[in-house]
Amino acid sequence: MKLFKSVKTTLLAASLVLSSPMAMADIHFLVPAGPGGGWDTTARGVGEGLVKAGIDDNASFQNMSGGGGGRAIAYLIESGTKKGDILMVNSTPIVLRALTGKIPYSYRDLTPVASMIADFGAFVVRNDSPYKTWQDVIKALKEDPSSIKVAGGSARGSMDHLVAAQAAKAGGIDGRRIRYIPYDGGGKAKAGLLSGEVNLLSTGLSEALEVANGGQARVLAVTSPEALTDYPQIPTLKSMGYDMEFVNWRGFFAAPNLPADKLAQYTEKLRKLQSTPEWETVRARNGWLNLFQEKDEFIESLEKQEAQLKVVMQELGFIRKAD
């Protein structure tokens, strides 16, 4: 019994000592998905930038996937400020999934800190496609909506589908008539386009550029509000007269009821990071576009996006209209 007791104490002490390096980390990132995905890369990129630029001493990362991100959100809400400085990375899906009810939380249950980067929606066709411009696509859709099959790397009702439906709506076509073909993952959707079984691919700009730069496809349009500095030749929907824009932001959230000084501290760190050369290396390496929006501006964008998406989703029948 005595042996057992001393063993227990040693273990306790050991784990406290050995686990404390974790607690001393200046900033801890919570990633609501497994390693290697978009969220993970963003968090690690930002963390890398912060440490290399000397803004933080240590950055640690915790992956917590499940429930479409809901698990990590729940964890953040529960742990609050007990565990030190935690920033959770997320993007547009948090707004989307809250609307469909896939996650029982919304961004309002957390403290939005800032958005860092943005991706836009883009539409791609194969090089030998009869549709040379986006206008051609709209024309074909008007004549026969089922003639165009749109591929996307996510399930029905998620981002790729909604962006396509919204774009169609801006062109005067009922979003519900869009034939969206879901694939599991952007890679398979790309394969679907290149193999010819679908005509159009709705995906993020970065992925669209990958396929286009490979030489087998063209980007017909992008959903950014203004022309892209790096790719001015890609027409924006707005420039072609279609009133539609979509921004897939990626940013950070903190626990709810965050004290004001903590919030200011995090925001200051991220703001400082934006102008460092270390961040520019990370950004350029990944092909991200900067979109820094601080708290109030960020919240405003979130509200705007939520309202915009809500309307589209109701029209498409993905959420019931509120009575």
Binding site: R71, A155, I181, G185, G187
Partner: protein, 514 residues
């Protein structure tokens, strides 16, 4: 092409890169051996390290980890029936029985040689025909996957011996059902989730594989230990590994199997929608169907062919999955998806232009595969007796270790303890089923294929606007479909022959009596 090979050789023969090949293979083998912990996590975490060493070296390192893991995964599949990597699950079907019969050494040797040959053939095909293969990978559309998976399902016949057919069917249906849990991607509806957020993404294959194989196996040995001599569990079994040598006849018998499976595996790997796991199952089923009567029954009980087939196929598939990755920028599996991310981060654009713009990356990865395969063979063969010593651990310790590794392996992927509870539940069910003599393999097959068949089927229906004509619209689809019908009817031919033989025999008997 020869310039390419020269370029690749000169890059790989650089001392640093050789070190990376070896390092990657070592790390990969180690990770592959640990049941549960997979190459995906390892590679994802390695990426930041690779930023500083350059694209060529980075890819060489990661590729080494990838096929090293497939190599290493066979070790734990064979020795403790706990597959280290999803692609090695099929190797345990015959590998583990062989080990139990005292031939662990031979099994490990067969796995090593088959993997080596599979990987090398894959590398040769990759080198010779990469651009051509790119076209092949793009010519497969959703309907083709449907019939291909259907062909795989007909392999159920492969897993059942006479009395077991209905039981295998039940397990397959069970697997198909488990695959429907979660959000249906085609429509976004929740199915069988009972309000549990953790079930929204469905059940992971790794979870099911570890629970039904590793956990259930460990537990069944506790509930029904083999009564060799009434040894207590605290003593260690003398490691009966047997020799690692293979006789000439054995080699001759396995040669065509290895050859066929390598090709099959490579082609399956080339398809963006299928990877090493499916390749290994299909090779296993194919070889079983092609085996002559006497050898057919040995499958599942320690058939050398049954081990060689999936082993060659999974390594070949692993190599094959580099085709869509490098030539089209389309990842064929989770691991290649991570590598794609790395390529992009290096600023390299995979696609048809890769060979022109960055030939060194392309060729050095391919050439490194040869070296990688050789390194793996050299590493693994002499170490076999040491690996087998694992069996020498006292059973009490070994069992608990297996339980631990299986649990933590799944945890390290999702960091969700709900998954662990699920594993225990599934293990309990699997344990009961095994005690009732139900085969586990069809469950896994149904699970994997069910998911793919449904997705591709629904997609094909959507693309064809609701008609089933996609089954015969294109010659490729039609031919695979006919092939699977034939495979399904094949055992019927044997059955009819048997009936006729029985009839003649009984007729003769009657005549004799009269």
């Amino acid at each position: 092409m020869f310039d390419g090979i020269m370029l690749g050789l000169s890059t790989v023969l650089d001392f640093n890169n050789l070190m990376y090949v070896i390092a990657g293979c070592l790390v990969g083998t180690f990770i592959g051996m640990l049941p549960g912990l997979g190459p995906i996590t390892a590679i994802a975490l390695m990426i930041p390290i690779t930023y500083s060493i350059g694209a060529d070296s980075g890819m060489i390192l990661m590729a080494g980890v990838y096929y090293g893991a497939i190599f290493g995964g066979s070790t734990s599949s064979i020795l403790i029936n706990a597959p280290g990597v999803a692609g090695t699950v099929a190797s345990s079907f015959d590998g583990y029985p062989l080990a139990k019969q005292g031939h662990a050494g031979k099994a490990l040797a067969i796995a090593a040689y088959s993997s080596f040959i599979g990987g090398t053939i894959g590398a040769i095909l990759l080198m010779v025909a990469a651009p051509l293969l790119a076209k092949v990978s793009l010519s497969f559309q959703s309907p083709d996957y449907v019939v291909l998976m259907f062909l795989g399902l007909t392999a159920i016949a492969a897993f059942s011996n006479k009395g077991q057919f209905l039981k295998a069917m039940m397990m397959t249906v069970f697997g198909l059902m488990l695959a429907t849990v979660g959000i249906d991607p085609s429509s976004g509806t929740e199915r069988f989730t009972f309000g549990q957020a953790d079930l929204l993404d469905g059940i992971s294959f790794l979870l099911i594989a570890m629970a039904t194989f590793a956990l259930a196996e460990a537990l069944i040995n506790v509930v029904k230990p083999e009564k060799k001599d009434a040894k207590s569990l605290n003593d260690s079994d003398t490691p009966q590994i047997g020799s690692t040598k293979l006789t000439k006849d054995e080699v001759k018998d396995m040669a065509p199997v290895v050859g066929r499976s390598s090709f099959l595996g490579f082609i399956v790997g080339v398809l963006p929608g299928a990877g090493a796991t499916i390749a290994s199952f299909m090779a296993y089923a194919t070889e079983r169907n092609l085996a002559p009567k006497g050898l057919k029954e040995k499958f599942g009980k320690g058939s050398l062919r049954g081990l060689a087939a999936p082993e060659s196929a999974n390594n070949a598939a692993c190599t094959g999955s580099f085709v869509p990755l490098l030539t089209l920028g389309i990842p064929g599996s989770g691991t290649t998806a991570i590598m794609l991310g790395a390529l992009i981060a290096y600023g390299i654009q995979p696609g048809p232009m890769l060979m022109q713009e960055n030939p060194s990356v392309f060729w050095s990865v391919i050439v490194s595969m040869y070296f990688g395969n050789i390194v793996l063979l050299i590493l693994n063969l002499p170490l076999i007796p040491y690996f087998a010593k694992v069996l020498a651990m006292p059973k009490s310790v070994l069992t608990v270790m297996i339980l631990f590794f299986s649990l933590i392996g799944v945890y390290l992927v999702s960091f969700n303890t709900f998954d662990l509870f699920m594993m225990v539940g599934v293990a309990l069910v699997a344990l009961v089923l095994r005690l009732l003599a139900f085969p586990m393999a069809p469950l896994l097959l149904g699970f994997i294929l069910g998911d793919m068949i449904e997705r591709n089927f629904r997609r094909s229906m959507m693309i064809s606007d609701g008609s089933l004509s996609f089954l015969w619209d294109r010659p490729l689809t039609l031919s695979i479909f006919i092939l699977s019908i034939l495979v399904l009817l094949f055992p019927l031919k044997d059955y009819l022959k048997q009936r006729r033989a029985d009839k003649t025999a009984s007729k003769l008997q009657q005549e004799q009596v009269q």
